[in-house]
Symmetry: C2
Subunit: 327 residues, 2 copies
């Protein structure tokens, strides 16, 4: 029988990271207008969001500036133009950018913190790239940034490899290690096992554990709550769940769930009311049937994205048959 | 550390009830064509669904047959016309109808099982109607039906009242008691507490516990899994989540999750591909922002439904302010 009702209280150490501009940029090649990016920032500040991830520090040589918008590269001059007035002390909000192992010219793209508006560098990698990720984390840490390690596609990595990766990360100065369900494939008990594994591996280091969930099975918010219940203190979300494929945990639902009075849901609703109709007209994301299928098959949503962009998009049965045959 | 991976095995006693025609009928006043109802039935059979709930046994005096389709009343002649060939032995599927306490002329509307195509009567009630529900359950049981008790809107009922209601139901012949989150307001730990409460109250009776979740907070599937993990053996779902307001746990996602090889997802995908576009054109449901808000405020979705039907539907900020002021 219930002894307490923790869902009406809160942990002050629990912090929200909104990655609308970063993860959402995977839907539109980061072709966001300056005005839109600025509105997301202002919404984050007004809503009491703790971290705002604005894009990638990925290499222009790999992501052609003719095709990809400036937040794919997060050039410092551009960031200064957008967020030159940024003051984390005043707003309580820190700015973050992500750098992908293998895709970032991080030694030149990441500059000393004093020269940047960024406060946090999030390093993303696949398990086999963990050694480069560790170097990147040390590099960014030494330049003065708060850092995280986001090991992606964790649902297809063996437990032995996860253990090994966590051992490597344990010795880095990463402040947070994020459980990343890139395929939106994990069920509650799997989230539990992973969170406990990360907690066990990082015990005594003071590192926080984060959760980054995708919505292929309509579980992004649920799995985020689950990780929070188990003690994760960093939760990723995006406005309206905007993000590649099925999208993410919606910031508006997460903030409405958290009981810390510092969070305010109304500015987010205001943003969504003004901006969402135009975005929905241009971009498609959310837990559509093809994403349900790739999630359940524990594969990258790429096949579903391509199918939905093809002339066959409405023939979901053919997509199902293809995936069943392919895996 | 994980000792087992129950998510890749299954419990044979776990059964799925599809209530697309019953709960979905709350979106369109049960104005389904015979052809559509028949297709839902055939999809259920092909997918290995255990129970199909086809509508309500509610009184025509309250639900005018000029306005409400025949599945609001489930007249036996009509059911025979639709499902005259129904054979639960052959298909493995049982047909169910719901009767609401206070809204059903159950003494005349429910006929002996031998005269009906129905196998199951599900009795729905609010907590204060539990005594009439108990009479209805006994009546239907004596006529030969399998019976359930669905106590609705449980998120606004005090624990003492729930205990009292369960004490009453414990003494009835109800085969299943369903945890019903009518407002889609419950979070994981609340589901846990309720399921444990029901289990404790009904221990030793052999009654099964069911789960009926709504999707206001994108938690319908997650809360359904949660109840299943805790031992519930009856799970309600609807095709594409079709249901009042934010809708329900989607049958296609639930069936894709369950590992019992008797369930087949492909016929459901086929149904959705053929039927969903036309339904989506006419009807609106799903976890839209106004439903997120009523879910988080733990109120009936009625206010959101009315708002979405009004000229002000796009002014979600005004809706938020209204709900904040009203509660």
């Amino acid at each position: 029988m219930p002894e307490s009702a923790p869902w009406i209280t809160y942990r002050p150490e629990l912090k929200v990271l909104d990655c609308t501009l970063r993860d959402g940029g995977l839907v539109n090649a980061h072709q966001f207008s300056d005005d839109f990016a600025r509105k997301v920032y202002e919404t984050g500040v007004a809503a009491g969001i703790d971290y705002l991830e604005v894009g990638y520090k990925n290499a222009p040589r790999l992501f052609d500036p003719q095709r990809f918008g400036p937040l794919r590269h997060c050039d410092e001059a551009y960031l200064h133009k957008l967020f030159g007035d940024h003051d984390p002390e005043k707003t309580g909000l820190k700015l973050a950018a992500m750098a992908d192992a293998g895709k970032s010219d991080w030694k030149t793209q990441i500059v000393p913190r004093g020269e940047s508006v960024l406060d946090v560098i999030r390093v993303a990698c696949y398990a086999h790239q963990i050694s480069e990720a560790a170097e990147m984390i040390r590099f960014a840490h030494d330049l003065g940034y708060e850092t995280t390690c986001n090991i992606m596609a964790i649902s297809v990595v063996s437990e032995t490899e996860i253990d090994q990766a966590l051992e490597v990360i344990r010795d880095t100065p990463a402040d947070t290690v994020v459980v990343v369900d890139s395929f939106g494939a994990l069920y509650r008990e799997q989230i539990d096992n992973l969170v406990r594994k990360y907690q066990h591996a990082l015990e005594g280091t003071g590192k926080e554990i984060g959760i980054h969930a995708h919505n292929n099975l309509q579980l992004a918010f649920a799995n985020t709550i689950e990780a929070i219940i188990l003690g994760c203190n960093r939760a990723d979300a995006t406005l309206a769940g905007l993000g590649r494929g099925a999208g993410n945990c919606p910031t508006e639902i997460l903030v409405g769930f958290l009981r810390n009075p510092k969070y305010r849901q109304r500015p987010i609703i205001e943003f969504l009311q003004k901006e969402l109709p135009a975005i929905r007209e241009r971009l498609e994301w959310g837990p559509l049937l093809p994403y349900n299928i790739t999630g359940q098959m524990n594969t990258h949503p790429r096949a579903a994205i391509e199918w939905l962009e093809s002339d066959e998009r409405d023939d979901v049965v053919a997509f199902y048959d293809k995936i069943v045959a392919d895996i």
